[in-house]
Subunit: 228 residues, 2 copies
Amino acid sequence: MRRAVVLLSGGLDSAVTLAVARSAGFEVHALSVDYGQRHARELDSARRVAAQVGAADHRTVALDLRVIGGSALTAPTAVPKDRSVAKMGTSIPATYVPARNTILLGIALGYAETLGAFDLYFGANALDYAGYPDCRPEFLQAFEALANVATRASVENLTRFRVHAPLLQLTKAQIVREGVRLGVDLGLTWSCYDPTPAGAPCGRCDACVLRAAGFAAANVHDPAAPGA
Amino acid sequence: MRRAVVLLSGGLDSAVTLAVARSAGFEVHALSVDYGQRHARELDSARRVAAQVGAADHRTVALDLRVIGGSALTAPTAVPKDRSVAKMGTSIPATYVPARNTILLGIALGYAETLGAFDLYFGANALDYAGYPDCRPEFLQAFEALANVATRASVENLTRFRVHAPLLQLTKAQIVREGVRLGVDLGLTWSCYDPTPAGAPCGRCDACVLRAAGFAAANVHDPAAPGA
């Protein structure tokens, strides 16, 4: 069976991406990165999601991005709250982690090389959240071009790498529906950037707001909603 | 003063690259990555080199690449020994770390973003060691293209990122001479992949063999040679 590496944060988008890769017939190898994110809670979700969706394997790589700083997700800076969905796409938010997706895809590429895999799955979404530069189609195309000159396979003229972003042009509501269709237990996923001290989603950060809007628009109950 | 981020392994090439960046007039910010390499000894060298060359800052990011494996540098596999320089370029050696330079440049890019730097320096060398796919000019060009769609600056239409590889077309002997010319204390640098239990260079791995050949061809005494 062909193998694929799937970047799995533990959030809604990456969980659905994992299920899409599996339904495409791949043996899926889930990869999480503990990069010092304040919502490390999502890594527990990643483990549970990997098991529920049927990943062949799940590994977590530790990378301390707090050393380079620059993001509200890895520093004791305030996470923006109570922003409307309409406002989110208009500028790059404080939760942007410099070059994060370049680094995450780089690690996934290295893992793919060791597995003999040529397919990388990544839950980037350009439609409902255009605020992050490294979620755009041109970024994914440039990374795929890089992968095909960066690796052993590119010297030895083997198969080309492909970067799959199956959610790229879906709305959050469509992602929710796709997750339901593929049997993902969405209650296992974790989106919140800034959990409460008791470990519940805050309900007010961009990730919580987008998630709630997506479930509402899909007319699906979110089993992991705050207070659900 | 304009800032540059310099990837500093602690080896000869990256030390000379740091000095080149400094002599080009940049305020240099050195960045090392502790990726689980068996020759973590090089990280001590990096710290000393950064101070001697006059870096404004030196940081070390921890990233555990042992989780994904695939290299003799991060696994308990044997490091190749006693290979001739002529033989090294003919195939990708066991010391290749999958996607390592993609990941290192990704972290450097993130650090540059937080510093407001647009210049990345990287000690890749294509001439005396063509064995690594991610030291080739086409790799560096692809990474530069990626950097310019991956970041905040690429959305906000700011300055373009540049990836500098000033040693790319130099022989090892030319690198040694450039280091001497720029006043780098080459005795502080560390090349060996497989230090002895006593902490000395093995003298037999590819890195030791290339280094010795370079110093010999430059007619320069290596103050850090085994037994020197």
